[in-house]
């Protein structure tokens, strides 16, 4: 009888990509993938450590697996596993701790275990890119890893410690990965990595890589996902003219205060960020710009915070992912003076969240009367189809008998103003 395996992924899209690939390998080796709430022989938890909240969530999931596993095993990997490796190795609820550098060895470790061998992740070769393109994933879109690690060393960030130095996947491997998933039938690929804008492989930079990607034939689109605002040229922005490149980027602002950006050691100014946002909107009206904001960074005064609020209002982001600053051990920000109390961070976070809801609704409303090319992801109970347009805004198409994983050109006629404002579209004639 085939063994059952369950996965839980916390955190970023890079983790999602890596879990998809590992799950696909298990599936090829005849393991049966089951839900994480079911009984399984192996529980794989791909953890996150970006904030203290992520640590807590990761710990909670590890405990859930421990309660369910009985004779099975728990394998913990990802950023939290890397950050607290020794501590987790002493945790008797966990059978194997696999750091990021050796994440691709999870399959071999499990196989060895059931063959009666006890192996250690460090016996396997370090490989950041040995992830096979996944055929059956937990998603309708395919994540493509192009890069790992980060050399920016922002003062708040633990990621350079747990993901290591920046490293780029060879161009041909990336392109082959895309060709493969397009062949599998995926209609949207999402570029992932820790700091994808710093992609550089033997002279091909990020812009050059995207240029090559959009030349790949096939009916699919490319989404850039999360990227740092490290200075892009107009020629990069011009690439969005190509129908394959979705007019959406998640560019991390973190703060609208020049002073806080300097303290964070971010490599741009708020002013340049704003110019870039305006440029994109001028070139592509309605361009979907979403962002991350950290509230309550050490020394953030009310005045600094208001600069972020004003910036967010004036740019009108499609969504703001708000993080309360959280101390990460060993970072420069840990040693900065004037840490804020939790209640104040919560208050500021709430203000940004409310503002984000407002700007998101306004941004989405501006699509009424426009068209969207919707990739249908699910069919709702009433038979209507739901998916995402090229701007990464959810759209319900009011028509029955449509197919999932297929593009439809729709006219946007209205918006549902609920918690997740959703556009309503009609198929174009």
């Amino acid at each position: 009888m085939s063994k059952k395996i369950a996965f839980k992924t916390l955190g970023c899209r890079l983790n999602l990509f890596e879990t998809d690939s590992i799950a696909s390998e298990f599936s090829k080796n005849n393991y049966q993938i089951v839900d994480f709430s079911d009984k399984a022989d192996i529980y794989v938890i791909n953890t996150c450590t970006v904030t203290s909240m992520s640590d807590q969530k990761s710990r909670r999931v590890i405990n859930q697996a421990a309660r369910r596993k009985k004779d099975g095993i728990t394998i913990v990997t990802g950023c939290m596993a890397t950050n607290y490796k020794e501590k987790l190795q002493d945790n008797e609820n966990i059978d194997y701790v696999v750091d990021n550098d050796h994440k691709t060895s999870v399959v071999s470790i499990a196989e060895a275990h059931f063959n009666g061998e006890i192996v250690n992740d460090e016996q396997f070769q370090r490989d950041l890119f040995k992830y096979e393109p996944a055929k059956d994933t937990f998603h309708t879109r395919s994540f493509i890893k192009i890069q790992d690690g980060c050399d920016n060393f922002c003062t708040f960030c633990i990621i350079p410690k747990v993901r290591g130095r920046a490293s780029s996947r060879p161009v041909e491997d990336v392109l082959n990965n895309i060709r493969k998933v397009v062949e599998y039938g995926y209609k949207e690929v999402i570029i992932t990595g820790v700091n994808i804008g710093r992609y550089n492989h033997e002279g091909t930079n990020f812009e050059g890589l995207i240029e090559k990607m959009i030349e790949i034939p096939g009916d699919f689109r490319i989404r850039i996902s999360s990227i740092e605002p490290d200075g892009y040229s107009e020629s990069f922005f011009r690439l969005f003219k190509h129908a394959k490149l979705a007019p959406h980027m998640h560019i991390c602002l973190q703060s609208g205060s020049e002073e806080i950006l300097l303290k964070m050691r971010r490599m741009y100014t708020a002013k340049l960020f704003k110019e870039m946002a305006l440029k994109l909107d001028e070139m592509y009206p309605g361009f979907s710009l979403t962002t991350d904001v950290i509230v309550g960074f050490p020394g953030e005064t009310e005045e600094h915070f208001q600069e972020t609020v004003e910036m967010a209002m004036s740019i009108g982001f499609g969504h703001i992912h708000t993080f309360k600053y959280s101390v990460r051990k060993g970072t420069r920000a840990e040693r900065l003076p004037d840490h804020l109390d939790e209640r104040e961070k919560t208050r500021r976070g709430e203000i940004i969240r409310v503002l984000s809801d407002e700007t998101r609704l306004n941004h989405r409303k501006s699509f009424i009367g426009r068209t969207q090319r919707v990739l249908v992801q699910i069919i709702l109970e009433n038979g209507y189809a739901r998916g995402f347009g090229e701007h990464y805004i959810p759209v319900i198409i009011e028509k029955q008998n449509l197919d999932t994983n297929k593009f439809y050109d729709v006219d946007i006629v209205a918006i549902n103003e609920n918690d997740e404002p959703t556009l309503i579209g009609k198929i174009r004639n």
């Binding site: 050399d151 020049e258 490599m267 100014t269 110019e275």
Partner: protein
């Protein structure tokens, strides 16, 4: 190519009571002027960033360090002896001169204290560079590496002593002088100085895209 490894200390050179240079084995580390390394004692988990002070063609690596009394790493590094091992990782960072500007660009380097380190490396690595340095220091003896700069390109701005080049902070110097709008400005050191100096130069008409900062603290 980045490396992580143990490098021997060749020499510790005291410049003032609190500031010193560590000259370290270079091994095969190649870097660009302006980049930094992560440095710590071999037997210590704590590492800190230090800009590379030496030139790209020097046979050794040098860093210029100010001992911070209530800090944890800078104070310990000062007690090392030649032959001791240091954990070195790098080179890291993006605080470099853009290659297409090195020949023709007009550079203004603005530093506070040991923030002069990356500029020392840039000047040493590019002998024909068209630059001017404004060095914010408290007293004249903090003019680390003065002999390596052309005297009319290096301006000491002293806040607590008169008698060297300019009496006052770098920001006072900027207020009182004009700069061509095509000047490419690099700032390094204390964030308060950097913020003020950036604002002043932007108000004087230098575009934001020509301002580059490396914040130490």
């Amino acid at each position: 190519m980045q490396t992580t490894g143990l490098h021997k200390l060749i020499e510790l050179i005291n410049l003032t009571e609190s500031t010193y240079i560590l000259r370290i084995e270079k091994k095969d580390m190649q870097f660009e002027a302006g980049q930094h390394i992560l440095l710590g004692k071999a037997d210590d988990n704590d590492q800190r960033e230090y800009s590379i002070y030496s030139g790209t063609n020097d046979e050794y690596l040098e860093v210029l360090i100010k001992e911070v009394v209530d800090g944890s790493v800078s104070i310990h590094l000062k007690n090392l002896n030649p032959g001791d091992l240091l954990k070195v990782e790098g080179p890291l960072g993006f605080f470099g001169l853009s290659k297409d500007k090195i020949e023709s660009g007009k550079f203004l380097f603005i530093a506070s204290g040991t923030g002069i380190a990356p500029f020392h490396s840039m000047v040493k690595s590019n002998p024909n560079l068209n630059y001017k340095i404004l060095h914010g220091i408290r007293t004249c003896n903090e003019d680390y590496g003065k002999e390596d700069y052309n005297s009319d390109r290096y301006i000491r701005c002293t806040s607590r002593e008169n008698g060297c080049d300019f009496e006052g902070r770098v920001t006072d110097y900027i207020r009182q002088n004009d700069f061509d709008n095509d000047t490419i400005c690099y700032f390094c050191g204390n964030f308060k100085m950097i913020k003020e100096a950036m604002d002043l130069l932007e108000n004087k008409g230098i575009p934001g895209s020509q301002l580059h900062a490396e914040v130490y603290f």
